[in-house]
Amino acid sequence: MQGIRRPTLSEARLESVLETAPDGIIVMDEGARILVFNKACESLFGYNAAEVIGENVRILMPQAHHDNHDLYVQRYRATGERRIIGIGREVEGRRKDGSIFPLDLSVGEAQTPNGRQFIGVIRDLSARHETERRLASVQADLIRVTRVSALDEMGSVLAHELNQPLTAIMLYLQALEREVHRIQVTHSRLEPRASELLGKATREAQRAGSIIQRVRQLVEKRAPERKNANLNAVVDEALELAMLGRQRSVYLRRFGQMQLPGVLIDTVQIQQIVLNLTRNAIEACQREADPTVTVTTWAEGDIVCLSVADNGPGIPAERMRTLFNAFRSEAGTGMGIGLTISRAIAQNHMGELLVDPGGDGKGACFTVRLPAAVDTAAENRDSIAAMPMAAAAEADKS
C-alpha cells in the first residue's frame, strides 16, 4: 500500500459517514486506484477494504470489462467526454468469489488538493432483477394458461350463446308441431306438407344441436379445478400482471379486508375475471385527468366479494341491456367477450358478477360475489397484517 497517505482529520470524518451509508461507496483517484471502500461495499463485493485499497478498480469488474475500463478512464482524461460521470448506469460487478452481479453505478467527480478523484455510488440490482425475472415468468405462464383457458371459455361461451337460440327454436318447433296436430284434429283435415316440413326443420335443428354438443364435449374434457384459495392473494397476483408496464398511466388503489374466508376456486379463471375487469376499467378511465382504478376485497357473511371500480364515464343505459352478451362490443375495441366469459366463470363458481353502471360523473363498478368455502382452514386465511381495510397498498404513481 505504498503511496497512500495517512488520512487527514476531515477525511477520517468523511470515512465515518461513508461507513454508515446504506449504498456502496468507492472513491478512486485519477489512476483508477481505490482510495475508499466502505462497509456496504465490503458486503456487496465480499472484499475487506484492506484487500482492495490501492488496487485498480478493475478488480471489481468482470474480466471482460477490464480493458474497456482502462480505455474509458483514458478517454475521459484526454477528452473530458462523459460516458458515465454524472449520469449513472447499470453495469456488472464482480465479487471476490468471481460471481457477477448487476449494479447501478453513479459516478461523481471532485477536485481535491490531491488531484481529481472519482466517487462511485453503487446499488445492488440483483434483487430487482430477480423480481423482474420472476414477474416475466409468471406473466408468461399466465398468458399461456389464459390462452388455453380462453380457448376453452370461448368454446363454451360460443356453445352457450348458440345453444340458447337453438333451444328456443327447438321448443318453438315442438309447439308448432302440436299446433299443426291440433288443427288436423279439430278440422279433421290432414296437412301432410306442413308435417313433412316441420320434420325436416326439426332434424336440422337437431343436427345443429349435436354439433354444439361435440364442441361442448371437447371443452368439458378439462375438468374444473377447484382449490381452497385466499382471494386477496389471487387478486394481488392478477393485479401485478394487469399493471405490468402501466404503473405510470393509471393510479391503482387496492383496499383489502384482512382474514377473508377461503374460496373454492379455479384460481386461473378468477384471475382472468380480475384481468378482464381491470383491463376494461383502465380502458374506460384512460382519458380522465387522473385515471384511477380501485380494487377492493371484502366479506359479507359467507360471501366473499371483489369489486373493480374506475373513474371513467360509466356505462350508458342503452349499453346495459346487452352488456354481458358476447360479441356486442363497440366497434374498434376488443372482441366483446371479456364480460361474457367473466360472468360465465362467476356463475360456474356458484357466484355472480354484478354491475353498477355509474354515469353522471361516476365510473362503472363491477362486483364479483363468490360463496365462501364451507370449511375454511386456518392456513387459508390471510395471515399478513398488512392491508387493513382503508389502508391502501398503492402501486406507485410517479
Binding site: 340458447q164 321448443l171 318453438y172 302440436r178 299446433e179
Partner: protein, 112 residues
C-alpha cells in the same frame, strides 16, 4: 296446474311458455330468481322449470326455496352449463331432474 318458468333468456323463456301452452298449461314466467321469490304462488301440483345460470341469485336458490315448501311441487332444472358445472351446482340436490339445453321432446313427455 300452472307451469312456473324461471329463465333469463327472452327467447328460451317465450319458447318454453309457448310449448307449455300448446299442451294446455297455464304459464307464469319470471326473468330471475328474485322475481320468482317475490311473485310466485306455487301449488303442490304445479311444476317449476328453472334455469341454473341466472343473473343475480343462481337458479339453485329457486330449487332450494321450492324444496322447503311443505308440499313441494315437481321441479325440473334446465341448463346449458357444462356437465361438470351442473354436477357441482346440483351436488346438494339428489332428486331433482336436470335437462340439458337444447331440450328435445323429453320435456313434452313430462308435460303431457
Amino acid at each position: 296446474m300452472t307451469v312456473h318458468i324461471v329463465e333469463d333468456d327472452d327467447g328460451v323463456r317465450d319458447a318454453l311458455s309457448e310449448l307449455c301452452r300448446s299442451v294446455g298449461r297455464t304459464v307464469q314466467v319470471y326473468p330471475d330468481s328474485e322475481a320468482f321469490a317475490s311473485g310466485a304462488k306455487v301449488e303442490p301440483d304445479d311444476m317449476v322449470l328453472v334455469d341454473i345460470g341466472l343473473p343475480g341469485e343462481p337458479g339453485t336458490e329457486v330449487v332450494r326455496r321450492v324444496s322447503k315448501l311443505p308440499m313441494p311441487p315437481k321441479v325440473i332444472v334446465i341448463s346449458g352449463l357444462p356437465l361438470a358445472d351442473i354436477h357441482h351446482a346440483m351436488r346438494e340436490f339428489s332428486n331433482v331432474l336436470v335437462m340439458r339445453k337444447p331440450l328435445t321432446s323429453e320435456l313434452l313427455a313430462l308435460l303431457a
